[in-house]
């Protein structure tokens, strides 16, 4: 066993935090460069892990009397999501440095949040997972507090209250999982060998679900999401990080299915129903939005309904699709939030009823449109593979619910194209400002995610190869469903 590769996940987790602290003492002139360098280095660490085929489980007894371990592993699904997180954080930094005046605190917070997020994906110990889960919350709140708009206090309280409501119930569940099961520690390897049996498992699963349903978010626990995005800074940078924070699907996949196999099978119909409803309901509401950020928030909610449908169906194809969608949804939704930020910078508004942007800013409009195509699952782009796999797999479990969710894809095209048409095509209002097209790094900011979406939409094998074994391993806990 190579000791350096064992340390790579830890390096990838804490490098951004280190950079975040380093920024506090960095002179203003070098801040952007340092932040960018750290983010690039983190991404590099992730790619190195990928090249090595994922890392082994690294375990260190963190608090021995409490049975809490520092167990981390990046491989399969977790590695894919960590890579996406690192990439989008890098892009967010690239944009924040150019767009936000006095970006120091923002860059620091992006890096601090990156640590929390990668930690969430790497954690293989329930308590460690909880710690990172909450840690990622603090920078998100601070971003909203420092850079938010006038209604941010209400949005902030709503966001935090929903999140904590779920995660504290999860904490009680976590305590229960260990003690009722009799595991010596909170490490997943130990917990999986000491499963809780009987009705207690269902109760604990519900506690766990409370946290994940808020994060997913799943109807009726979604109300914080649109306010959170609407009140965040116009640039869209905090929204990118907020999008990455939707780790509910991953949490259910990695922790809930192996720990509560009977309960997940038992509750499958209800949860799939909720997921399908969330997808359709969010698409319906998105259709009526006139604020780009709220529209994107509801679009994201709709996609998350899809992810939830895939995960809850417990079908291999669907779960792979859900993880695929979860990873690439971050790319296109994040990039779309940034393109909305660019639009806001140019016309000073987030309203969808602007009109005629295409005539002056062709590249911005074109790239945005391509990203929207990825979002509404046009074949050839990565979103399609995810959504199609989910529908294909979920259909084998519950055709009717899948049909309901499937309507969403049509609804998505409707709301996305309507809004796009209003903003970018319609006639240009007389006397409006000239819209500048993309400059400098903006090309990269929209181009890199789009490039990857095309690449993985056409050639999905590397990503699927990464995810498939992990999904199989998790679903094997269900005993050959």
């Amino acid at each position: 066993m190579n000791s350096f590769t064992d340390w790579l996940p830890t390096l990838m987790i804490f490098l951004p935090l280190l950079g975040s602290l380093l920024l506090l003492v960095t002179p203003k002139t070098f801040r952007d460069e340092v932040a960018g360098f750290i983010a690039a280095l983190t991404l590099g660490a992730g790619l190195a892990i990928w090249r090595g085929g994922g890392s082994d489980l690294f375990r260190w007894d963190w608090i021995p009397p409490l049975g809490i371990t520092y167990s981390v592993q990046l491989g399969g699904v977790s590695l894919a999501l960590a890579l996406v997180t690192a990439l989008m954080s890098f892009i967010a930094i690239l944009y924040a440095a150019r767009r936000i005046p006095n970006p120091g605190p923002m860059l620091s917070l992006i890096l601090a949040m990156e640590t929390g997020l990668i930690g969430i994906f790497a954690a293989q110990d329930l308590m460690l997972f909880y710690v990172f889960f909450e840690d990622a919350l603090i920078p998100a709140l601070l971003m909203l507090a420092m850079y938010g708009k006038s209604g941010r206090m209400a949005a902030l309280v709503k966001f935090a209250a929903y999140t904590l409501f779920g995660s504290l119930l999860m904490l009680v569940s976590i305590i229960g999982v260990r003690y009722l099961g009799g595991s010596p520690s909170f490490a997943m390897t130990d917990l999986k060998q000491n499963l809780v049996q009987g009705s207690a498992q269902t109760w604990l699963y519900l506690g766990f679900l409370a946290a994940m349903a808020v994060k997913l978010p799943l109807w009726p626990l979604h109300a914080w999401l649109p306010d959170f995005h609407e009140q965040n800074h116009d640039s869209g940078v905090p929204d990118v990080m907020g999008t990455l924070y939707k780790v509910g699907g991953y949490g259910i996949f990695t922790f809930a299915i192996p720990l509560f196999p009977d309960a997940s099978l038992e509750l499958r119909p209800i949860l799939m129903g909720l997921a399908a409803f969330t997808a359709l309901y969010a698409a319906w509401i998105a259709f009526r939005q006139t604020d780009w950020k709220r529209l994107l928030a509801y679009a994201g909610l709709s996609h998350m309904g899809f992810v939830a449908l895939g995960v809850f169906s417990l079908n291999e194809t669907a779960v792979i699709g859900a993880m695929y969608l979860l990873a690439f949804q971050n790319l296109y939704t994040g990039a779309l939030f940034l393109s909305v930020g660019m639009l806001q910078e140019r016309i000073g508004s987030l309203d969808t009823r602007v009109g005629g942007v295409m005539t002056q800013a062709g590249a911005l409009s074109g790239l945005t449109m391509a990203l929207w195509f990825a979002s509404i699952a046009v074949p050839g782009l990565a979103g399609f593979i995810g959504e199609f796999s989910i529908l294909l797999g979920a259909y084998q479990v519950s055709p009717w619910l899948t049909f309901i969710a499937g309507i969403t894809t049509i609804a998505a095209a409707a709301y996305a194209l309507t809004a796009f048409q209003h903003t970018f095509w319609q006639a240009r209002p007389a006397g409006s400002v000239t819209v500048r097209d993309l400059v400098h790094t903006e090309w990269l900011i929209l181009g890199i995610p789009l490039g990857l979406l095309v690449l993985f939409g056409v050639y999905s094998t590397p990503a699927l190869n990464l995810m498939q074994p992990a999904v199989r391993a998790v679903l094997s806990a269900l005993g050959g469903n």
Binding site: V131, D135, L169, I175
Partner: protein, 482 residues
């Protein structure tokens, strides 16, 4: 002939050192400035803490088991001294502004600490009671010392309710004596391990009366009503002392009496569970409505009583360890938060939550420190408050009180909201003139704040630094000194 009683004074050393500080403040106050006295007291407190380390692992006792320097006493004593040290550092800066800068203030403070240590070291009910009364009487004076209407009102309220609480406690103590024929913890524990049906009624009655009495002291609902007025009305440095050191001592007494002496007595567990549930709900919901930051912290102290009390619902081994950890963390974070209030407030009423807007851009260091304290109070990792909360949840959960854990989790959501609001306001940009005291940053207060913030951060990342000491189950099995 006068016979000198034979008593080993070695286990008393930490108490005697603090007492020496108190007496020196009383006597030397005629010649020395208060500042010098405070520095002397800081010295005695540090010496006392060192002597705790010196007594570690010796398990000495004195007065026939009436006073015990066992591990539990030393650990709780350390927490008390940590809070005292932070209080003294803060008073160096703010006592003058609060108009309590005279030697009597220091003397009273140190007498109160002597009482607190006596409770932690107690091996029988009488020593515990003596300690409790020394602590309480000194605290009444401390709360009144300022000489303003508000301080007098708060002191009187504190005295009347506290005296009633003490009376109930003594009544309960008499019942317990009547039922068991002993005042010694070990003897009571031995008697109650085989319950004699004739005495059970009296014993249970006594235990419940003592629970009420302690309920007053630690501010368990519905006996908490004095807390917001007293904490809000007293000078902030006194509020700091009352809400940390005095509460820690009262919990130390509860731990000794309930988890030690009366462990096997039926009835008090379920009554305590109901009181804790009420405390969690009332404390958290009332804090949600406060507009004054200091008063909000007072209610948050009530809410934390609920969390701390959950530890007593656990088995002595799990609960004692949880309480031992949580008390230190609670002291550090509450003391640091109130120290910042003391430094930045314009008047002793504290400041309103809306005044905190933009604090980060005026006092970045204090704002970040306060944010850390609030995050820790709210129980957000990686700060130590999280592990404190987790430990008490676990202690109650393991002993069959899952519903209390769930209730505590739900009320924590309210707690998060009221901690979050000021924490986030501090980071919101603001163009209006500053509303806090301009000359607020002085080295001793900053040192106290730094101690608190470093404490909650380090104990949050590496809880084992302190938890390894308190985690040993034997410590808490020996609470009654068997």
């Amino acid at each position: 002939m006068l016979q000198v009683p034979e008593a080993s004074l070695t286990p008393l050393l930490p108490i005697l050192l603090v007492l020496a500080g108190a007496i020196s403040s009383t006597l030397l106050g005629f010649w020395l400035s208060r500042r010098t006295l405070t520095l002397i007291n800081i010295g005695t407190v540090v010496a006392s803490a060192v002597s705790l380390g010196w007594l570690w692992n010796r398990d000495l006792s004195s007065f026939g088991g009436g006073l015990r320097a066992d591990h539990a006493a030393l650990l709780l004593g350390f927490v008390i001294l940590a809070g005292t040290l932070m209080t003294l550092l803060v008073t160096l800066d703010t006592a003058w502004r609060a108009r309590v800068s005279f030697p009597e203030f220091d003397a009273m403070l140190m007498y109160a600490v002597t009482g607190c240590l006596l409770i932690a070291f107690s091996g029988d009910l009488i020593v515990m009671l003596i300690g409790l009364e020394i602590m309480s009487l000194s605290s009444y004076v401390l709360a009144t010392l300022q000489g303003s209407r508000r301080a007098e009102e708060s002191g009187l309220k504190y005295f009347l309710l506290g005296a009633a609480g003490s009376a109930v406690l003594i009544y309960g103590l008499a019942f317990v004596y009547g039922a068991t024929g002993s005042l010694n913890y070990a003897a009571i524990a031995e008697k109650t391990s085989t319950l004699n049906p004739d005495n059970v009624g009296i014993l249970v009655g006594g235990a419940l009366l003592m629970l009420c009495g302690f309920g007053f002291k630690v501010a368990l609902a519905p006996f908490h009503q004095w807390t917001p007025d007293v904490y809000g009305g007293a000078p902030t440095s006194v509020s700091l002392f009352l809400s940390t050191v005095v509460k820690v001592a009262a919990f130390a007494g509860m731990l000794r009496v309930f988890s030690g002496a009366l462990e096997n007595v039926p009835g008090w567990h379920s009554v305590l569970a109901v009181l804790i549930a009420a405390t969690l709900i009332i404390g958290n919901l009332a804090a949600l409505r406060q507009t004054n930051f200091k008063r909000m912290l007072a209610y948050s102290a009530v809410a934390h009583t609920g969390f701390l009390g959950m530890a007593l619902l656990g088995t002595p081994a799990a609960g004692g360890a949880a309480l031992g950890y949580y008390l230190l963390v609670y002291t550090l974070m509450t003391a640091a938060a109130l120290a910042i209030v003391a430094a930045l407030q314009r008047s002793e009423e504290g400041f309103s939550i809306t005044d905190m807007r933009g604090l980060y851009y005026r006092h970045p260091g204090y704002a970040v420190a306060l944010a850390v304290c609030l995050a820790s109070l709210a129980g957000l990792p990686p700060f130590a408050g999280f592990f404190g909360k987790y430990l008490v949840f676990q202690a109650a959960f393991q002993n069959g009180y899952a519903w209390i854990s769930i209730l505590a989790a739900l009320t924590s959501v309210a707690a998060l909201v009221y901690y979050l609001r000021p924490a986030m306001l501090m980071f919101m940009p603001d163009r209006t003139p500053a509303r806090e005291y301009g000359l607020g940053q002085r080295p001793p207060t900053t040192l106290a704040v730094a101690l608190g913030v470093a404490g909650v951060t380090v104990l949050g990342l590496l809880p084992n630094l302190w938890y390894a000491f308190v985690a040993h189950p034997d410590i808490w099995a020996m609470l009654a000194g068997r």
